[in-house]
């Protein structure tokens, strides 16, 4: 049996409301809230970044897995906001956990699906017997250009998964990836903010890849939507996961436990991974979970997990996702948010 042996989440405490952003740009807040099904998003403090969140999420995963970090053979961090352009996030994470020096480390990048990329590779290495334990983290502190639609949703968070063969919490039954070259959203080197193709990011991008990956994995596993207790889709806004769920034949109640975006925002590489940690938090032994990520550029990774009895033993060993989402929230004004997110041009 191969699967998840530990999982952990981390969400910063700061939030900013849609109204606060809309006010500054003279936009109509109610229509954004309705159109995006979004109320507020998380904001990282200036002393938080992809690396710091990855470390804390990974520590939570280790608390649930109960293993010696020295035995982790692979550490992967997937993000589109790695703190360095050249110098891995993974090495800092591996040092902070105490997994160095006998460990393979790599940083992954694929817009919002960099987290599930790492998960696919870590899982596969464990399956192949190349490493005893593999760690994959999806974490981001992505930026949206000021005044752009993406500014309302670009948020920060991290989710970490440890894979192994013993004491499995959620068994991996199937994986499937669907990839094409589709330039729906991108950021060129040296640019501070990304750009996107507007409505082109919908049908030919998000919907095509998620539906293809979901149908692909279900065909491979000979399963249908009603066979699953829960499904998690990438959450760029509140509406898309429900719409793609409807297209595929899933019900709202299967989606809701992992649907965090209305209060969290789009945590990019952390998006579907955090949906998975939230779902694991409330799952029961025997539950079937489907997760389908989406990364612009474009591609989707799909996984099927079956929850084991062990979930009951480890669930409470680290903070739960919704606890982190709701705990001690601090609401920011736009000025402070802009200062934290370095959108204000300062003197040299």
């Amino acid at each position: 049996m191969v699967g998840i042996i530990g999982y952990g989440a981390y969400i910063p405490r700061n939030r900013i409301k849609v109204e606060e952003i809309a006010k500054v740009w003279g936009a109509d807040a109610p229509s954004y809230k309705k159109g995006l099904m979004l109320e507020e998003k998380s904001v990282p403090s200036p002393d938080q970044d992809t690396i710091t969140m990855a470390v804390e999420a990974s520590k939570n995963a280790l608390r649930r897995a109960g293993i010696d970090p020295k035995e982790i053979g692979a550490v992967y961090v997937g993000s589109e906001s790695h703190p360095y352009a050249v110098k891995p996030s993974g090495t800092v994470l591996a040092e902070a956990l105490g997994s160095t020096p006998e460990v393979h480390t790599a940083d992954f990048e694929f817009a919002c699906k960099a987290g599930t990329e790492g998960m696919f590779v870590a899982l596969s290495l464990v399956q192949a017997g190349a490493v005893k334990y593999g760690l994959a983290v999806g974490a981001d502190t992505s930026q949206g250009a000021p005044g752009d639609a993406l500014e309302y949703s670009a948020a920060a968070g991290a989710a970490a998964f440890l894979f192994g063969k013993e004491n499995v919490i959620a068994e991996s039954l199937e994986t499937y990836s669907f990839t094409t070259d589709t330039p729906d959203f991108w950021r060129r080197e040296y640019q501070f903010y990304p750009q996107h193709g507007g409505r082109f990011t919908g049908d030919p991008a998000y919907f095509k890849h998620i539906t293809s990956a979901a149908n692909g994995i279900m065909a491979k596993a000979k399963m249908k939507p009603s066979d699953f207790n829960y499904v998690i889709f990438h959450q760029p806004n509140g509406k898309f996961p429900f719409r793609v769920g409807e297209i595929l034949g899933f019900e709202k109640k299967q989606i809701e436990p992992g649907w965090l975006v209305s209060k969290l925002g789009n945590t990019y590489s952390g998006s579907s991974p955090l949906g998975l940690t939230a779902t694991l938090d409330i799952s029961k032994p025997g539950d079937m979970i489907l997760i389908v990520s989406y990364g612009s550029g474009a591609g989707s990774d799909a996984f099927i997990f079956r929850v084991t009895k062990r979930i009951d033993d480890v669930r409470d060993l680290a903070p739960k996702t919704r606890y982190l989402l709701d705990k001690d929230k601090k609401y920011l004004e736009y000025g402070v948010y802009a200062k934290y997110r370095r959108k204000i041009r300062k003197a040299e």
């Binding site: 002393d47 690396i51 001690d328």
Partner: protein
């Protein structure tokens, strides 16, 4: 501010809070040392600091040194960890008016500072309310 080598040398302490426990008297040195300040002995066994404790004193820095100009005002304090070791670090995720001597805190991995836009990023430990 530290050069890469000065920063890198202290990574086991900054990232993992690795310390040394005196084999003779049990005193915990953070960072590890060659000579025990308590009994003068020279043999230590590796240990790690506890990751929770209570604040014994604190302040709020409003006039920062040059590397921390962007961060001011920020809270900094000394916590006595549950293993008895006292540690100095910033206190974050806590409104200034809620800071209290005696409050429980735990350690979180955070960014400490960076050498401008192009330099090395310095990571380390900070205190957050438990």
């Amino acid at each position: 501010m530290p050069t890469p080598s000065r920063y890198w040398r202290e990574i086991p302490q900054r990232y993992r809070l690795e310390a040394g426990k005196c084999k003779k008297c049990g005193f915990i040195c953070f960072p590890p040392r060659l000579v025990c300040p308590n009994c003068g002995a020279r043999e230590f066994e590796p240990t790690k600091l506890a990751d929770k404790g209570k604040i014994v004193t604190y302040t709020i820095i409003r006039v920062p040194p040059k590397q921390f100009v962007d961060q001011a005002p920020y809270a900094i304090g000394i916590a006595e960890l549950d293993d008895g070791v006292k540690l100095t670090a910033q206190i974050v995720d806590c409104e200034f008016e809620n800071l209290k001597i005696g409050m429980r805190v735990k350690i979180e991995f955070r960014k400490i500072s960076e050498e401008g836009e192009a330099g090395v990023i310095y990571y380390g430990y900070k205190f957050v309310p438990e």
